[in-house]
Symmetry: C2
Amino acid sequence: MAAGASALAQKLSRFLPLKPDELESLAGLEARRRAIPAHTELVHERQTGHQAFILLEGWACAYKLLPDGGRQVIDFSIPGDFMGLRSVLLRTSDHAFAAVSDILVAEVSAGQMIDTFQRRPRLAAAILWAASRDEAMVVEHLVSIGRRSALVRMAHLLLELGLRLQLVGLGSPGGYACPLNQYLLADALGLTAIHVNRVLRQLRERGLVTLREEQVEFHDPAGLHSLAGYHTGYLDQGEGPAS
Amino acid sequence: MAAGASALAQKLSRFLPLKPDELESLAGLEARRRAIPAHTELVHERQTGHQAFILLEGWACAYKLLPDGGRQVIDFSIPGDFMGLRSVLLRTSDHAFAAVSDILVAEVSAGQMIDTFQRRPRLAAAILWAASRDEAMVVEHLVSIGRRSALVRMAHLLLELGLRLQLVGLGSPGGYACPLNQYLLADALGLTAIHVNRVLRQLRERGLVTLREEQVEFHDPAGLHSLAGYHTGYLDQGEGPAS
DNA sequence: CGGCAAGTTGAACCGCCTCAATGACGGTGG
DNA sequence: CCACCGTCATTGAGGCGGTTCAACTTGCCG
């Protein structure tokens, strides 16, 4: 893989080494770029219009709002992630997207997607693999919220984000830059910001992990894995074709 | 659509009216049938071997087990649902499947799937639409567990199952047959069976809905919708092609 | 300097859990 | 035929995890 390849190209190459013509098609999907400032809503819930985004730089999140004003963050998007791929087939978007930090995205129309899928089946398979992996992450998230304690949930999330970032060349085993504040973490984990604060304190006091000044630092990765009961199976960190 | 068509054919036809040759291919996917008794595990977590199932009759559930013995049900499968579609691309299944009642399934190999996708692009789009819809349901489920009270969660689940069943010709606006016991509901909603019991009692005493002898009866659909803050957008109950 | 967003901490409350027990039902074997 | 069992539903009492409300701090920016 060429140096300087996009985060998405890096990620897909883990599943399937991409050929020059496939990389070219991928670059075509990433051509129509747009910078978006932090805290902007890209897509609102139930928005029609079939287009997806590829996140090139920065962090975003997918979420749903509730009638009572509450918010549930479905997942966080990092460079190399598709956003809104589902709305290419569904009539409307089933959730909203917002920029967490300043971000750079590529807009992809439904037509472009379908065209690429027909002309580049291997690339299509790789993109569907990535989408399946994202789905598996949502499922793991659901399990977290349903059956794990707040402490374990937080540990799990911080570990998962670390692994995902490493796959696209951001972050290291020791930590990573993380623009998420405690409100966002709370809405992701189904907690209040206040309790997130207490949970982070516990993790810090146990010498496991620190989140300070937008930086996550793992002090005891083994201890954290053990606390979180973490196994990476669902992430399928690609070691060649699955089939 | 022909009378007596499979539940899956009924469902897909809502998205895209299927042509005879497409219905034939679909029937081909549903040909290799197998009866499975209740409470049997079809696929265990991290199972390799790329195959999917189409549920033809009965109910099943997808779930993950936790180290502490807990269980989180990801979703329930009803006739016309695919199970394990994701494991066609992912190296291993990211969760387990079990039969809730006695069921009848069709086994579909990864090769068969890929072959059908290449030869019948319209059918492929319809199947991906159904898969996107399933994903949207998992997302809604996540929102429920993360941000809704136990009472609202339960109301939401019972309503959603009702709508899904109606789409494949099972159940009516007044209710439906439901083989789920309180333990299963608890593991789906992130509660204990004991609390499920109390929640069901509340719903009953408020005159909204009853679950007795494997039968759900809606006594006040409007009141239930209002309590659940239910809107059907994410279900995309198909009224013709989306694109 | 004043204002706002984000983080931190304490105290009281409550939704849901845990532990414990009881009842209803169908199946099974003596 | 009935004693026995396992499964499921039901109910009570007490406890804990996480919420709610209410400060107070810190840092940033105009």
